[in-house]
Symmetry: C2
Subunit: 508 residues, 2 copies
């Protein structure tokens, strides 16, 4: 017996088998494996990787020895067994991300995950040197999630052919949607692994409408098989998130709603790790019903970020607004807001208990635009977005809970949130010289800072007696209105400021 | 018979009579007059002006001779008759403003009225030199409407006593809400006349919640009589608009909704000219039902100006958003947005077919703040708002109709409107380097200009072939999407730009 292979916990174990290569092995040769530890069994689908090679992958979520045994109606793939050791995870391996505290996320080891994503839809289909550049750029940013499509993209500024066709050619020379191209998937999963090694979650977009290769014309059965194949290959990567679509509603004429539901089910049947699953709308009025139980979190495209409150309440799940419009200057109105506006929308979203997504769409002579191709960032928002993440990571443990409720003054106008001993008030387009609402109601010992969200400067805030906000009389009613905070704070009278209040005697 | 008095059309004719001064003439001596021209009769209520003097006022809306005869149960005020001549209106007298083209306004002589108002709630209650300063400041602006309360204001920054109590002292030395103070009303109407002479509409706020004098504690009957008295005195001023309240909903606990309806009815009973009537909410979720027939136009307080579309559709009347938040830096979140943000909100509102209102709330060592006291403007928005009015007056004849519909891409994100031969697209926080959506569908002869809404510079726009906006494929559906305009236009790639397109062969 050879020495047992060792895989770190939440790493990817892979076993390889030889099997038939005639006919269509993608269709004809079902095969899975049951991984076991103590009395526990986990069923994992296998997949055909071309050239008579079959593989099964598994992500252990517990340390110690795991054994497995394959199952197939094909003798060569049935009853194969083996074992491996799952070791302690390495330092930067915190495990897959899942929902925690209803509206927030954390890694499996408990490390909070604040979703700060960006978007490079078709970066894995660009020339290899540009893909390397994308990874280098990402290293310099604080982004920890990347939206990326399996399929290439056909759209203005995106007319190049992909590196690899997604399916193999059939007898007629056209792509045969019943035969995935292992080389294309291998490349894709290598880039998922590269992101994993940078600590970046891969938000994998499974379908999208911007297609000239016929991928959108696949039959429902072909869609289902493609999805099962993708899941079998990729679920064992700990940094995978499943995004059913970019702009699913633009495909509703050919893929009805029940079919979208079924896609979710197929993932659940093939992903034993229950990676995060979401679905992204195009039209702002066409949100999927994110209350459905197979949806892990709310993914929206919406510029109206003060509504983040509402989406939390409507769906009762974490809110990730992946397209609050992008920084840029192209003609498309979803891709031409200022850097300052995008940073502003990030702060509003986060300070209402949600998460926002970044994209960059500056016109470029060779159409090298980050949002679809990756490469270089040319804008100004990404640094400030990274700064916001730094600010959160300094103090937030459980995720932010908004101060106030939808529509309740003044929280429809300004934004604030707290977690444990820290609270923030983000004033945005408001530029008061003093503020109090949302500050502590007790006269305790607090560190108060003023955060300039654009210049990224943090300066100590000056505490003052509570200013009078409102008359005690209000028509015939004497309200005896109580002050809304125990003290106030001075502000510079400029827009885009935030107030941070921390208890001095904090445990951490 | 003395020479007949001559009053210009839409001027104010006044007749004076002596009558009883004992008892309470405000309550005991009903008296009105019927003005007649040819077969037409118009009933006008009279009022007691103190010291045994009774008056009746009338605003003729047709030239030529008018006669009148008084009616009263008091012999001294009954059957008095007279006549006057209504002459042609003077150059700057365009008559009262009413609704035209469903969503817009015009003066009685047909001159379009674009409502560009500001707010000085209690300016008529400040020292006289400050009131003179307010009028001087207004002269330098382009504001053509002023929101102003009959009652003084009690609120942070507003603690001074009014120039005149609104009611006379009773036997107990307290104000007797059954005895209006003629001096207070005379002063108020003199200032309404001063605004009229500057071409400014007086948007008269009849009730508001910010009171320490007991005006909010008047009984329903006292409210009704106060309202009838106010109407009798002021309806004959052509520049009067009736604003039932500032923030009526904060008074609902003492003045129920049916009472607010009744206020409208009392105005209708006493104002034969049917001046504009509106009612202003406090809480953004508490709009009055502006569909009620006695409401002439929608008055809202709402910062969410991209919803202007919705209010037009919901109520089917002109929309005046009198508080899209104010430029300033005070602690109250309705009063501390940047000048740029307020100008932005004006453009969005106007380019969605509505009208916005200005206010300025900069903190001041002596609490001399424009929004309540008038005096001096200290901000930056008012000039740009005047510039927007100049732009409209150059071309708009009937009022602007928004391009697009609520929620229809891209008009939920950017704003555009047209009237006859002119159209505008306002891009706001969007900064594309080219644009086409909403430009003409024909390849005609157009003047194209780029308007920088902040620097107020207008430069010629460069016309280019229609850029490709969207793929023709969209998943399995080949849309054969038509271009959305016959041409595009280059833009500077900066925020807060507007595009203006005018037909070259315009009649005007």
């Amino acid at each position: 017996m050879p020495k047992q292979q060792t895989i770190e916990k939440w790493g990817t174990f892979e076993a390889e088998f030889s099997g038939p290569s005639d006919g269509n092995p993608f269709l004809d040769t079902p095969f899975d494996a049951v991984f076991a530890q103590h009395g526990r069994e986990v069923r994992v689908p296998g997949f055909y990787d071309g050239d008579g090679v079959y593989r099964v992958r598994f992500m252990p979520d517990a340390e110690g020895e795991w054994t497995f045994r394959t199952r197939s109606t094909t003798a060569a793939l049935d009853g194969k067994s083996g074992a491996f050791i799952a070791s302690a995870p390495s330092k930067d391996n915190h495990g897959p991300v899942s929902v925690r505290n209803r509206y927030h996320f954390a890694h499996a080891d408990g490390t909070p995950f604040f979703s700060f994503g960006t978007t490079c839809y078709a970066w894995t289909h660009q020339p290899l040197d540009m893909q390397a550049q994308t990874l280098e750029t990402l290293k310099r940013t604080r982004f920890n999630k990347l939206r990326m499509g399996v399929f290439p993209k056909d759209y203005p500024y995106n007319v190049n052919e992909p590196l690899h066709p997604i399916f193999l050619a059939g007898k007629d020379g056209k792509e045969d949607f019943d035969r995935p191209n292992p080389e294309a998937f291998r490349h894709f999963e290598n880039q998922v692994a590269a992101l994993r090694d940078l600590g970046i979650e891969a938000d994998i977009i499974i379908f999208h409408p911007y297609d000239r290769w016929g991928y959108c014309n696949m039959s429902a059965e072909q869609d289902f098989r493609y999805l099962a194949y993708l899941t079998a290959r990729l679920a064992a990567y700990r940094n995978v998130w499943w995004s059913l679509a970019n702009e699913y509603d633009f495909l509703l004429d050919s893929k009805p709603m029940t079919q979208w539901d079924r896609y979710f089910h197929i993932i659940e049947e093939n992903d034993p790790y229950r990676h995060l699953k979401s679905i992204h709308n195009g039209d702002v009025n066409m949100n999927y019903d994110h209350r459905k139980p197979w949806v892990s979190h709310v993914c929206v495209q919406n510029w109206d970020v003060k509504r983040t409150f509402d989406w939390r309440e409507e769906y009762g799940k974490p809110v990730v607004n992946d397209e609050p419009e992008y920084e840029g200057n192209i003609i498309q109105s979803w891709g031409n807001i200022t850097a300052q506006e995008l940073v502003h929308r990030f702060w509003i979203t986060v300070m209402r208990g949600g998460y926002a997504g970044h994209g960059e769409t500056y016109s470029h002579p060779q159409d090298l635009i980050w949002w679809a191709k990756g490469g270089e960032l040319r804008g100004e928002a990404w640094k400030r977005i990274g700064f916001l993440l730094d600010v959160l990571q300094e103090d937030v443990k459980n995720g932010l809970t908004p101060i106030g409720k939808p529509g309740v003054f003044p929280w429809s106008r300004v934004s604030g949130a707290s977690d444990g001993d820290v609270r923030y008030i983000y004033l945005g387009e408001h530029q008061p010289v003093v503020w109090s609402t949302g500050l502590p109601m007790d006269d305790g010992d607090y560190d108060i800072d003023i955060i300039d969200t654009w210049t990224m400067k943090i300066t100590p805030g000056e505490r003052i007696p509570t200013p009078q906000l409102h008359p005690t009389r209000h028509g015939s009613v004497i309200r005896g209105r109580k002050p809304d905070a125990a003290f106030g704070v001075k502000l510079p009278g400029r827009p885009f400021q935030a107030i941070r209040v921390r208890q001095k005697s904090r445990a951490n």
